[in-house]
Amino acid sequence: MKILYFAWLKERVGAAEETLAPPASVTTVSDLMTWLRDQSAGHAAAFSDRRVIRCAVNQDLATPTTPVAANDEVAFFPPMTGG
């Protein structure tokens, strides 16, 4: 699974992108966030407040209950501030 980070999530995790293989028990965005949080101190800092984290699965906006699978591209980022 390809995981992307943007804005301050990228800074806290310390990487723009990583390829990871979460366990089979990780089936939703919410599961993935819980699992990622335990990968490093940086991940823990990035995922400390889920209310300010948005997610996209395969470049479509997702919710905590959106399913994730091994070949997905999953991105985490703060609320968008373009325009």
């Binding site: 804005a7 470049q59 991105a75 703060p78 609320p79 968008m80 501030t81 373009g82």
Partner: protein, 150 residues
């Protein structure tokens, strides 16, 4: 009939308007919005985006506007990279036979772009400190209002 671009270079509103209206005589009005970098204590704005998803999200927002208003065409150009106060950030154009549709679609496009297109701004202040710009609650309310008005 939509032009969607993400670029580091500035845009030329006159040239974009000419491209949008070229050889068409069914257009009665074009609405436009140009977003610029405000100064004050900001020395530089860094615009980050999610390549691939950005174009996809902008195309979805444009499709939503085209489904809602009878548009003759529209243009969304968003800059990324380092920008100074006074520089252009974003251009939205919406052309229609009627002015009301053109103006409403312009407002719709910029409102949705703010909440649904993957761009993030980081400010460098005049004192050298940096901060990611936080989303304004009002922006999500603006988008939600369009949904409620359907």
């Amino acid at each position: 009939m939509a032009t969607i671009r993400v670029q580091t270079a500035d845009f030329d509103i006159g040239a974009e308007l000419a491209r949008l209206t070229a050889s068409r005589v069914d257009i009665g009005g074009i609405g436009a919005f140009v977003g610029t970098v405000r100064g004050g204590d900001v020395a530089e704005l860094m615009l980050e985006h999610y390549p691939g998803m950005t174009e996809r999200a902008l195309a979805q927002i444009v499709a939503r506007a085209e489904a809602r208003w009878p548009l003759c065409g529209c243009t969304v150009i968003h800059r990324v990279g380092a920008l100074k106060p006074g520089e252009n950030i974003v251009l939205v154009l919406a052309a229609s036979t009627h002015r009301q549709a053109a103006l409403e679609a312009t407002a719709f496009l910029i409102d949705w772009l703010k909440t649904d297109a993957p761009f993030w701004k980081k400010e460098t202040h005049t004192d050298g400190s940096t901060a990611w710009v936080e989303a304004r609650e009002g922006d999500e309310i603006a988008t939600a209002t369009w949904l409620a008005e359907r």
